[in-house]
């Protein structure tokens, strides 16, 4: 009896002892924060091999700059410079005072877009705003749709409405220049409304372990036309520039092989890796790419998808208020007739 009571008392005493089982938070030191960030990317970032980046060499380059007595701003600067080496617009470090980024995917190239020129000289300040889609039938009987961000929702009602409004036009121009991305579901929805038959647009690969080659095949990107909804069968031109990033690149991936779709403009900015987030011991957050996306021929879309027709806006055209990429699209549709 005494023994039973001792057992019970022992269990009572040592229960509720999560402090003995759960370790405290890792020490919030600059070195710990740096090592944690480097290690997480080493294990889960998806583009080291594709971009030929030796992450261990990067560690040897930046780790000597970190000591435990540096200020937060110095820590942030060094980690930002380290992340900059990845040349990835989906890699950011967020602190309470700044957000690191690499925007070379568009800053190093011509802008090739001005909404001011479009709104003043082509839309004349008059256009419809259908959900997130600014739209109008241009003088040439060609419909123009501008989609500023895939983060803004579109739905089948919007698309059906516009297809019905544009049913007598000679073509549709979908302008996704300067569209920095957003939700893939919006990209897939529009693509499914343009597709006339089911097709596989691309493949994804997901990081499955800490090793360099640890990837598993993800779900394929399959585009299926939506049944029982109005379709548009005339030519469609999609306008892109280097600022068409992330979900915009995926949208181009979904539609570039459709028989009635042509891509005109500049190579998209890329951003073919799905970003995931993490958190440092000091509470700063970061995000980075964890997947790889290719088209059905194995072409990796991380550095962008080239257009079918390459066109830039010259400086003289820009000064004259002419959007030569849009003009190219209008001419293309007219000649297709």
């Amino acid at each position: 009896m005494k023994r039973v009571l001792i057992y019970i008392l022992t269990i009572i005493i040592i229960s509720s002892c999560e402090k003995a089982l759960i370790k405290p938070d890792p020490e919030n030191t600059p070195i710990n924060n740096f090592d944690y960030l480097w290690t997480d990317l080493y294990e889960r970032y998806s583009f080291f091999e594709y971009k030929e980046i030796n992450w261990s060499e990067i560690y040897l380059k930046y780790r000597p700059l970190i000591t435990n007595d540096i200020h937060d701003t110095t820590l942030f600067r060094v980690m930002s410079e380290m992340l900059y080496e990845l040349k990835d617009g989906h890699v950011n470090l967020s602190s309470p005072f700044d957000v690191s980024r690499n925007w070379e995917w568009y800053l190093g190239h011509p802008q090739n877009f001005s909404w001011e020129i479009i709104e003043r000289n082509y839309l004349n300040g008059e256009y419809r705003i259908t959900g997130a889609l600014r739209n109008k039938v241009l003088d040439e009987n060609i419909a123009y749709i501008y989609y500023p961000s895939f983060a803004n929702a579109v739905n089948n009602y919007h698309i059906s409405f516009l297809f019905n409004e544009f049913k007598d036009t000679e073509g549709i121009i979908i302008d996704i220049r300067n569209n920095g991305g957003g939700s893939l579901s919006n990209a897939k929805l529009i693509a499914s409304r343009l597709a006339l038959e089911k097709h596989t647009a691309g493949y994804s690969y997901v990081k499955s372990g800490p090793g360099k080659g640890d990837f598993v095949r993800g779900n394929d990107f399959i585009i299926e036309p939506v049944e029982d909804m109005i379709k548009y069968t005339q030519p469609v031109v999609v306008l892109t520039n280097r600022s068409s990033y992330s979900a915009s690149s995926f949208f181009v991936l979904f539609v570039k092989d459709l028989p009635n779709v042509t891509i005109i403009g500049d190579t998209t900015g890329g951003g073919g890796g799905l970003p995931i987030s993490g958190e440092l011991p000091n509470g700063w957050t970061y995000r980075f790419s964890s997947t790889i996306t290719t088209d059905i021929n194995g072409f990796n879309i991380e550095n962008g998808i080239p257009p079918h027709i390459k066109r830039d806006i010259s400086e003289s055209d820009r000064q004259s208020g002419v959007d030569s990429i849009l003009e190219e699209a209008i001419s293309f549709i007219k000649n297709k007739k």
Partner: protein
């Protein structure tokens, strides 16, 4: 896949057998003396959680907790079903005020105990038994993007011990009980390495059930450990109905490349209706 089906069938056999054995061992006379209770409790839970797949920080907070229980008991047998629910917010122990985790935890369990020792010197009864628990924790990080949703789901077979000590104070009937269990087998499903979805859902076979089983892993104490203790003080009011105050402590840890561990204290007040 076949191995997993066998495991599910074995667990189902264990549960149904325990139920049948329990009822088979009960004579008609004993059945007429079986007490059935429907119990409900609500209270608070102080929840601690660290999921290394998303953050190295320990998140904690006070959450709402509730429990419903259907129990059948007589002199030698205890068996029944439990449903637990916890919901609330968790924050890290840091100065980042915007860091927030929305936490949802649910559990369903089936248990069977048989008395193994009755002490003559004092009215202490000790029971041994088994239980099957299915639990799931679901979390949403407010500051994350595509992987803001994280989860863990475990199905366990546990060994249990229960001690009950009835006593009287001023002629009123009380009972204090202590129950503890640890799992001996678990089937665990967690997100894939760099995703918020289970691994097989990333390349779906078309069947959610098949993907679920293909995403999980079998675990013993080296990969999944859990320890649950519960103290209860019951007071009999009228017609065998009771009110109860309970304190529970639960700790579990899922091993692997990115460990997940959680500890929680529950303080709950409830009622037991006899029927």
């Amino acid at each position: 896949m076949k191995f997993r089906i066998i495991i599910i069938l074995v667990l189902g056999f264990v549960f149904s057998s325990s139920w049948l054995i329990a009822n088979g061992q009960i004579t008609d006379e004993q059945k007429s003396r079986l007490n059935y209770y429907f119990e409900t409790s609500t209270g608070i839970s102080h929840f601690y959680l660290r999921d290394r797949a998303t953050s190295p920080l320990l998140y904690s907070g006070y959450n709402f907790a509730s429990q419903a229980k259907l129990s059948f008991l007589n002199e030698k047998i205890r068996h029944g079903a439990i449903l637990n629910f916890v919901y609330g917010s968790l924050n890290p122990n840091s100065k980042i005020s915007s860091a927030n985790l929305e936490n949802l935890y649910g559990e369903i369990g089936f248990y069977y105990f048989h008395r193994i020792r009755k002490f003559n010197e004092i009215p202490l009864n000790v029971f041994g038994g088994a239980s099957i628990n299915l639990n799931g924790g679901f979390r949403d990080h407010s500051r994350f993007t595509n992987n803001s949703f994280s989860f863990d789901q475990a199905n366990t077979l546990n060994v249990n011990v229960l001690a009950e000590y009835p006593f009287q104070v001023f002629g009123k009937n009380f009972m204090v009980s202590f129950r503890s269990f640890v799992p001996i087998y678990a089937f665990v499903v967690r997100p894939a390495f760099a995703s918020s979805r289970p691994s097989s859902f990333a390349n779906s076979s078309g069947s959610d059930i098949a993907d679920y089983f293909n995403s999980g892993f079998h675990a013993t104490v080296n990969k999944f450990f859990r320890w649950n203790n519960c103290f209860e003080l019951q007071y009999e009011i009228r017609n065998s109905n009771r009110i109860k105050l309970s304190y529970s402590w639960d700790y579990y840890k899922i091993g692997g490349q990115k460990t997940m561990e959680s500890a929680s204290h529950y303080l709950m007040f409830g009622t037991m209706f006899s029927f």
